[in-house]
Symmetry: none
Subunit: 411 residues, 2 copies
């Protein structure tokens, strides 16, 4: 079975958004072992969309559409596909109820035009949209398949994973199984050097490195007919790599640094509090992105002004005057204060210059101090990060979470 992706939306032809849907779907099709030879993008125009469908059906078996399922008059994907497949659109009461519920849940009455989204073709598979109003659809006819998905990634991706993946799995014998090892505290080139034999002397499993801000991912991939077979291969390679670089690996696959840290805190029954200056709430935000964070995250102090550092964390005005807010001393006092003024077992702190302004001769943009305190340990670390304000906040927050991770290990 050959698949083709057709992305519908004039905003794509105007370059108003980058087509992340095409990348996401391509990645997932590859991992499902389904061949993809063409991606097409077309605007919200019935005739041009129909011509794209015509071309695609001549060279592909599975057409995956994204976009054009909205309630407005220029959303025409469903109409075009049904016209082409000769299917009538019929009002589906169940779908209509779901859409009305969606609005009711928001305390809003459903606008009349949304009723359009409750019309679905006869004998089609309806894919529930848990994050929006447009249901997805799978339409089969004469051995060809059309899969219609909404455009917004936060609606499309969960729908694809929940309904489309199980549907597509039956079409391919071999899948690509892969596992990602996540490194922190070591650079891409050092990893490449240390693993060069493993990387270059084999084709399956294959190893590929990807550098991310302040971390590196290593993807191990193997093509196998079943998961058990693949698991052995991946396990063997993972242990080979861990034997060489295990200390730098904080997690696997989609685990985030904050998820790993929250899990470690849960297992040791520890609580953390956070005092942030230059990261401005990003560390608290990352930790509280993890479900269940409330069991390990006590509170955070976003002390942007010096007055706040003094009042909320008991940083001494003397220290601020002598060393400045961006210093080892203040980072330590912030961490101590966050520990003392909370119910936490570990506290971390950040103070630095995120830029673009605020730099001095001796303190450049990117200079960041990260403090850590427990009841019997206190320390601080100096970093010099590069990039713009957001990048410095991001790397500083990751560095702080990694220091927290190591502190938990040794707690």
């Amino acid at each position: 079975m050959m698949a083709e992706i057709i992305c519908v939306g004039t905003e794509l032809l105007l370059g108003q958004i980058v087509n992340t849907n095409a990348q996401y779907l391509s990645q997932r099709l590859a991992s499902l072992g389904i061949d993809l030879y063409f991606q097409t993008t077309v605007g919200d125009n019935l005739n041009r969309l129909k011509s794209a469908i015509d071309i695609a059906l001549k060279r592909s078996d599975i057409l995956i559409f994204t976009g054009g399922l909205g309630p407005t008059s220029d959303d025409i994907t469903k109409e075009a596909v049904c016209e082409y497949f000769g299917k009538k659109l019929i009002l589906n009461q169940e779908v209509l109820n779901k859409i009305e519920e969606y609005f009711k849940h928001r305390g809003v009455k459903m606008p009349e035009i949304n009723k359009k989204q409750a019309y679905v073709p006869k004998d089609s598979i309806i894919l529930e949209n848990r994050h929006g109003t447009a249901p997805g659809l799978i339409i089969e006819k004469d051995g060809k398949i059309a899969i219609l998905l909404p455009g917004p990634p936060f609606e499309m991706q969960p729908m694809f994973e929940e309904y489309v993946v199980p549907y597509l799995e039956k079409f391919s014998k071999e899948k690509i199984y892969s596992r990602v090892l996540k490194f922190i505290g070591i650079g891409e080139s050092s990893i490449e050097e240390r693993l060069s034999e493993l990387i270059h002397n084999q084709s399956d499993p294959s190893l590929a490195l990807y550098a991310k801000p302040f971390e590196v991912e290593l993807r191990i991939s193997t093509k196998k007919s079943n998961g058990a077979l693949a698991k052995d291969i991946l396990d063997q390679m993972e242990s080979k790599i861990r034997a060489l670089l295990g200390e730098y690996i904080y997690g696997i696959d989609n685990q985030t640094l904050e998820e790993v840290v929250v899990e470690m805190l849960l297992q040791k029954g520890l609580k953390v509090s956070v005092a942030e200056s230059c990261t401005g709430g990003l560390i608290c935000n990352k930790i509280t992105n993890v479900p269940g964070a409330s069991n390990v995250f006590d509170r955070g102090f976003i002390t942007y002004s010096n007055e706040a550092k003094v009042k909320e964390l008991g940083v001494s005005e003397e220290t601020l005057k002598n060393f400045g807010a961006v210093s080892h001393e203040v980072a330590k006092q912030m961490a101590q204060g966050a520990l003392k003024n909370s119910l936490a077992d570990i506290a971390i702190s950040t103070t630095g210059i995120a830029g673009p302004t605020g730099a001095t001769k001796t303190k450049p943009v990117g200079l960041v101090y990260i403090g850590v305190a427990t009841k019997n340990y206190i320390d601080s670390f100096e970093f010099r990060f590069s990039g713009d304000r957001l990048r410095i906040k991001e790397t500083a927050s990751k560095a702080a979470l990694d220091i927290l991770r190591k502190t938990i290990i040794n707690y």
Copy 2:
């Protein structure tokens, strides 16, 4: 003249990279006033690329290719286009010298395979590559035009700006000028209903709606021969829309809600403090993403535990017991506490259930209360958001920033 973009590269079909070239070229073509109706992505395969060229030439006049100009054997864009246009590839000594210089400059001898890149078709326009070895090409035949550009954006973009823009400008008298109005607190369908006449009863300027999480963008576009003319049209349409929905418009073009809020605080000389429970630091993080936030953001209290709400914000244990942490009453007391315990003029607060756990019969996931306090005003608002934990945090933080925005307006 109608253009079509053809991106060549198997890495795009495998989803290993996101297709930013398609967005970049689409944006530039739109602003140049050249119509683009299709984008096609195809892998490094001669026959499939030739079939894509065949289809494109039937519906478009200008074909813009990116990728497949490298030195390796699977780089076949130049070969495919020349085969299709019946053009012979001839070694160009000048180009070869440039490529050899490129390597010499790096102290490396030119690998033999790079010689392939010095072969160009007769009577084609050669576009110098200042950032790599593959020259770009413009090939004209029988009123059709093929423009071949390298795949790496840092090579493609400067080449496009320096050579292709001047070449394309002669094909359109008019350019497209556009302005984006950013709405919050009103849904896409409601805007469509309220503006239906404006949207449907005209073609220039055109109006297009795009829904984003908790906000909607409306793009006004007009095709004009010069910017002054366009500005009048855009201004007129903007004021028509503001007359109908002005209260919901928070900014234009690339402005973010937090940038607008920080700017408004600066202009009125006000400071804000934030008390976050369910948003867990996201609001503070957004505000501190804005350069210069330190002038208007005093501090934030991330009070996840009830004990923190009591100690840091003076929320009464009585109130927590009687109404629960997720309530109008607690939201108000959090905002009052954040105002009292800071140097701020306005304080906002959030308390809610971000999920996936924590819901009760009467308090579902997505229930969020947002409080606001100034020295002579205090209020709170109830919201019921849907989606997963991250989406609920995101929408709640935007709702809070919008309440802050309205509070500043009325301050």
